[in-house]
Amino acid sequence: MTPGRVLVVDDTAFNRRLLVRLLTSIGHETVEAEDGRQALDRLTDAGAAAIDLVLLDIVMPVMDGYETLAALRADERLRDLPVIVISGVDELDSVVRCIQMGATDYLPKTVDPEILRARVDASLTQKRLRDNERDLLATIDRQRTQLSRFLSPQVAALVSSADGEAMLAGHRREITAMFCDLRNFTVFSETAEPEEVLGFLRAYHATMGALIVEHEGTLEHFAGDGFMTFFNDPVLQPDHAARAITLATAMRERFASLSADWRRRGHVLELGIGIATGYATMGRIGFEGRYDYGAIGNAIIMAARLSGDAAPGEILVAARTFAEAEPDLPAAITAQPAGDRQLKGFSRAVPTFSMHRAPSATPEEATR
């Protein structure tokens, strides 16, 4: 058994001496406190060595065992610290109360060295398991944070969730896909300096990326000037169609201020956005060593085609998406019929709407 550092809290010197003696004889290090107040001061002393276990008397002056337990359980850092209550044989009611308050175990006051050793060892083992568990959780959390820098936050969360494996293996679900890219980007990248193009792309990715995260879209991929984002997966979003449209209008508004600078320098850049709703199959796509969370389905292709068909600055939405979104859309967002579009790969013409947003009153609203 690895020795631990035990805090003995008792107002009578007799009990402290006896307990300290017994604990040191089985290899543990001890620290003493005469009441709960002293114990808490020692436990919250950042400069002092960490305590592994507390042996706590109940009846004490200044601050008794109950108050001490309550204070320990209310403290984030001390909540998991094991506490063994020391009690007389005629104090079983108090023991029950202490255990309900979070004490780990109890020891009779007329100490039996074997019982003391067994209970102290059991509590220290439990604490070590809990500490390991906490370290493990912290590691998982850190990995998830790191992962979320490479993946969409939703996908990063999915990877470490209980049903993650089944979801990654592949599932079918209705989603709303949004595809957006830039008009005139090719001309811009040929005429501007490469450093300028990179600088612009960084600002563009940062701005659009922040909006996608804010609207809780799942970013499937981005390549150069294009983004593919979808909604309702892996996290269910009943208002997925409205979310996509709201995001698109926010992107367009934000893009206007981003591109104003470039416009003055003679580069006219505009977004073209396409949005479509339909069933798709989502899951792990790729090969060992390089997998992506991807979506396959007609909605994705239709969104890309609509984006290609959109006029500069236009948000072109499939009629089905608009119908689903309409009840959830903010009043400021309105739609105009934009005709039936013949899209490559689709045998039937797709009825569409073009989305508009009334200039918002406050800048805060514009980001919604």
Partner: protein
Amino acid sequence: MTLDPNAMAHLLEITGGDPEFVDELIDTFIDDAQSQIAGLRAAVDTGDDAAAVRPAHSLKSNSLNVGATTLADLSRSIEEDGRGGPIADLAARVESIATEFESVRAALLAERAAR
């Protein structure tokens, strides 16, 4: 019983047969008991019966550990009565505790001397 004849043997046993440490415990018991009795007397003087509970409780548990059975019983009865409200004859009972403690102390020191 002023002193349980097995108590000293028990203390020796649980401390791994270290007579010096048992002596230290006896001294600590005597010191603790004196301040516990002072606490009981202070409760009598101020008429605050509730203040007698904590020293009575501590004296009881220490007495049990050294095998001072009678002293433990006297203390326990004060502790128990005190939890329920005013304690009948507190002053007289505290004095019998003080008298019993003197017998316990004498017995403990005699035990030590006999070793």
